[in-house]
Amino acid sequence: MELILLLFVFVLASFLGFELIAKVPSQLHTPLMSGSNAISGITVVGAILAVNTSSSGLSAWLGFAAIVLATINVVGGYMVTDRMLAMFKKKVK
């Protein structure tokens, strides 16, 4: 049952993702790509959960590496997107 629900969540989120993006002006494609790339760094949550006291040395270190990489993705991703969008801001005024 839980699995089915996760599948439902998957299907709905997919459709929602499609609907949200339709008709984005082309100059926003790059920031959008970069911004949604930052969101994919959500895997940092999984990485944090992997580093718990019960996990063996190897999986803790794998988790650590995952945290570092995912955080680079998140922090860098949001900041770069913000910088790109700041340019557009300037243009509009």
């Binding site: 839980e2 989120a13 997919s14 993702g17 499609f18 993006i21 339709a22 008709k23 082309s26 100059q27 926003l28 494609h29 790059t30 920031p31 790509m33 970069s34 911004g35 949604s36 790339n37 930052a38 969101i39 760094g41 959500i42 895997t43 940092v44 949550v45 999984g46 990485a47 944090i48 959960l49 992997a50 580093v51 718990n52 063996s56 190897l58 999986s59 803790a60 794998l62 988790g63 995952a66 945290i67 570092v68 990489l69 955080t71 680079i72 993705n73 922090v75 860098g76 991703g77 949001y78 770069v80 913000d82 910088r83 790109m84 969008l85 340019m87 557009f88 300037k90 243009k91 509009v92």
Partner: protein, 471 residues
Amino acid sequence: MNASTIVNLSYIVAAILFIFGIKMLGKADTAKRGNLLSAVGMLLAVIVTLLSKGLSYPLIIGGLALGGAVGFVAAKRVQMTGMPELVALFNGFGGLASLLVGLAEYYRAKISNNLLESVLIEELSSFTATVIVLTILIGGITFTGSIYAWGKLSGKLGGRALTFTGQKAFNTLLALGIIAAGILFSSSPATELAHAVLIAVLILSLLLGIFAVMPIGGGDMPVVISLLNSCSGLAACAAGFVINNNVLVVAGCLVGASGLILTVIMCKAMNRTLINVLVSGFGATTQANGAKSKGELKPISPEDAYYILEAAKSVIIIPGYGMAVSQAQHAVKELGTLLEENDCEVRFAIHPVAGRMPGHMNVLLAEADVPYEQLAEMDDVNPMIEMVDVAIVIGANDVVNPAAGNDETSPIYGMPIIEAYKAKTTFCLKRGKGAGFSGLENQLFTATKTRMIYGDAKATITSMVAQFKES
């Protein structure tokens, strides 16, 4: 309400913030706030996750700090023109992180004395085993694919598409190998052999990422990056299935779907299909195609060009990839201002796929403070281009290639172009006889009304600007 309920409700809130964030990123005036909103969602998700029981905080905080610092510095330092590469790099990291999460979950279920002799202390369900394989597969492809794309874009690896005989067969073999190993692992994840099989999946996936991107030309990298971005979302989603975490599933899936549709939109703007981008080896094999152009190139010096420009009453500037390469945007902006002061109407015509990223030209010109009103879309420019005195093509090639409109044998046939050849005079700035991204000849350059101005675009424009100032 217990702790886990609070965590889960916060995840729902985070997911809602992501949804709003993505939606708002799609509109110019809300984009910045949308990005902020989605960042807040991420922060929320991370913070409530940190409240979970039994975490090893030193390692976690260390990882967050280290990653945050690296991300911060990289994002601050990068040049505007280097952003496409950086996004690719970040994307690769995200994919690798998901891969590692999947791997860690496998090792968690396993006590290893040494890597070869170990027992699975917890029975992995075949569903979990399957999603672990998927996480490693997608994450692996995303990682090496993105790194390779980064290498091509940043020029560290040659930009050309690399093809070799039997390439498709080789890639198919790799894929089949992964599938076979994946099935083997999923059906019996507890055996001795399983560990080795999983490592095989890992290695093959990493290889597949490289070999899948190899035959794609550097110019198509934005499409590839967008696709890989979609993949890194799916990798996070798969990791969510592995550790049974909703917010990973939702956020990952949102990114997966929106990335895919964005990819398709990009392909459409180039009038190509996704499949064509991925497997055609475009840029490696197409040089031979298309009608040979007849006629000769008529070069003039920037000085001569200056005299023509001085007399012009209306000018259209058509920037392309070359402007980005030579970082000429500031000089171009200055030229535009001087022309206007000289009582000439100046407009910038932006082709949607000029450059190497969607909106590439918009970003560059915005950086140089070109006023918004001077930017015009292709469809607005074409109907009136015949009345324009001078069209200045700055490092653009494919996006002004008339073959797209009149040569059915051309691989870019059907792509909408900016019809620079219709202007009364056309200047084309490029360094030499180099072809454009598609490797095609361009009849615009040999047209009677066209004058070539050779040299680096920035140098050429700067010398024109100097002439204007002297006079």
